[in-house]
Symmetry: C2
Subunit: 402 residues, 2 copies
């Protein structure tokens, strides 16, 4: 990981104060990504003088965000007394996920280590937001208790949902597989949390958080890729130069309703022949002659692995449809790579051949390759937690003041 | 137009010098967009103190980029002596266009006014790059002569081409309708120019420059839109938060080869059922039973206007195919609007009804509307010239030193 780009906001002039904030962030990001680092190494990393870096480092140590490794600590650093690490106490990023079949919460410390995690299998399909969010809050409280016992406090909470979230809001505009509409988590969730409104809350689509997890947590991931994830729905997220393309209203990435065969089967969305009608989990189960159950992906993987012809044929068809829809996406977006995440990563062995055949044959300038996520279905939760963690790295003093 | 976002480059720390450069640019952009402006008005616009702005203004006046309107000049400004305008002499942006059926060149001054323009109708299809670029250089020299007579000198030359250009290069990787492959304009063009390599050269796809022209020159254009342009090929460009999405290799926007009906007619690109097979000019002429000629758009518009049933039916079919391909694009990208440019703008009356029907019926979250370009086929040339002009506004002292 390299230090990210910190941009002054549009329209605002550069100021000394803004410059200092961005440089504090650069120091903290450099140590988080590459630490332990000496002050001299930090200076070299970010291209400031050693004197300037020392002042910034001192401020971050006083704030409890950096710590100096004492000479008693072993390690390969030349002068161990001067090596810096980000703190493993203090602010932590909390991530939560509302899935169709489960709820999950975790806390990562500033070093990026998961320090507490809780999960509950529960069918949320068609369940009202109130009870779902009460259950989620119970998991958050449990994780918070465990984290507090280790000296961690939440710097932010990010919630991943399987639906469209209006940009810059906490509102799930539409989550068809939960049957939620215009659900404002900012109004509903804080009442159940010990900290109420005192910890910043973010809500975003699970595919977006999944893509951020790929970007931040997988070695050698390019900075430009299209991340496709599927469970019941099929979502995508585009990362451009290391940042999410969210769309004007936050709704970018609706790959599941790209028309594959415009005169194909009717889709509940009102269109016909959408990708989900060919490659959504329920469509694949139907094509394979299997009944939809709790762990759909496991069932498909198991049958395909056992050599079941109908399942394999259904997955080949899903792969072709994905290849056709992705041809359009690759032609439009020119990503460096396509990454298959979520349930798709587990089914990749049977999807990939037909998917790649369509893409190679059709795309004007095919991406360098189709990669398989190593994070799988854990991606969105990790992406959410790391996104909350990174708000501290992006504006260290903002989080201390808060 | 508002002052754009100026970002320090990724990985580089903020410095005093970088800050000063960005603030000089903010001042020049503000006066270019809103001038004449007093120093106080500039200060208010960009949020710096009046004293800081005055120093920056003095530097820009010394460099000949700003001028002070004397008290003898009429105008509505309170204290006319203090009103600032960008200069209409000195650096100019040169734009050039290599079309399938024409070549064009223009020069715009820092105020954005076209000061010289030349065009030549010539069929470039299948013509070797050498002769085409010699003809283009002759037009550039003609425009340069006219511009020089008015005290203008080229600050940059930007060339629009109907093909894929590798990002950050001068190389046309593929221009099917010219039959150019891996053509490096940086190696071929400067030899024919009076300034050789001394003026910065940019080469980009015509759809990209068309989209930039929409963004910069059309009032009330949103900062997030998908620009679709068509002549023989169909291209698109996506503007996100006021910047082009270029794709990892510079190839984003290949809307023409998005699959509309995956089992449809074979396309020279190797795929089947691409959008161009339904909505490219030649496909539409064929469907209308018309012979391809020199001014294809005019012929189609004339026939449709005269009520020719076959032509109208062919345009309705093209509109439907555009609507299906744009559904995928809108679902993936969530633009605020779709803008039809190039030949499409002239044919819009007959394309729009079927296009909008498909889009409304199919898109998960339709854009706010389909808009028609007012620049039409002049867009790419203007976008190129203004892109060269804006390199001066973006880094005023860089252009003076050069």
């Amino acid at each position: 990981m390299t230090a990210p780009l910190h941009r002054p906001r549009p329209g605002t002039p550069d100021t000394q104060q803004g410059m200092r904030r961005r440089n504090l962030s650069r120091v903290l990001h450099a140590v988080a990504a590459e630490g332990p680092l000496s002050r001299a190494a930090v200076a070299q990393h970010i291209g400031l003088t050693r004197a300037a870096v020392s002042t910034l480092v001192d401020e971050l140590i006083r704030a409890g965000l950096l710590e100096e490794l004492g000479p008693q600590r072993p390690g390969g650093v030349g002068r161990p007394g001067s090596a810096l690490m980000v703190s493993d106490r203090g602010p932590a990023g909390f991530g939560a996920e509302v899935g169709v079949d489960h709820l999950a919460v975790c806390a990562v410390d500033l070093r990026g280590t998961v320090r507490a995690r809780a999960e509950r299998r529960v069918s949320n399909r068609g369940r009202a937001p109130g009870p779902v969010l009460r259950d989620l809050a119970a998991l958050i409280n449990q994780v918070n208790g465990e984290a507090a016992a280790e000296g961690l406090r939440p710097a932010g909470l990010a919630v991943a949902v399987p639906g469209l979230v209006a940009r810059g809001s906490h509102t799930v505009v539409r989550a068809p597989n939960l049957d939620w509409h215009d659900t404002d988590l900012g109004a509903l969730l804080p009442a159940h949390l010990p900290w109420g409104d005192d910890v910043p809350l973010t809500v975003d689509n699970e595919a977006n958080f999944g893509a951020l997890a790929e970007l931040w947590l997988t070695a050698d991931r390019p900075a430009d890729f299209l991340h496709v994830s599927a469970e019941i729905g099929i979502g995508a997220a585009l990362v451009v130069e290391g940042e999410l393309l969210r769309g004007a209203r936050g709704f970018a990435g609706e790959l599941g309703h790209v028309p594959v065969r415009p005169e194909g089967p009717a889709c509940p969305c009102g269109s016909r022949g959408c990708l989900e009608q060919y490659a959504g989990e329920e469509a694949v189960l139907r094509a394979a002659g299997l009944a939809p159950g709790a762990d759909r992906t496991a069932l498909l993987a198991e049958r395909a692995d056992a050599g079941d012809a109908a399942t394999r044929r259904a997955l080949r068809g899903a792969g072709s449809a994905l290849g056709i829809a992705l041809t359009g996406a690759v032609n439009l977006l020119d990503p460096r790579a396509v990454v298959l995440g979520g349930a798709l990563s587990r089914l990749a062995p049977w999807l990939l051949p037909s998917l790649e055949r369509e893409l190679t044959r059709r795309a004007t300038t095919p991406a360098d390759g189709v990669l398989i996520s190593q994070l799988g279905s854990e991606g969105p939760l990790l992406g959410a937690a790391h996104s909350a963690r990174r708000t501290v790295l992006d504006d260290p003093m903002g989080s201390v003041r808060a």
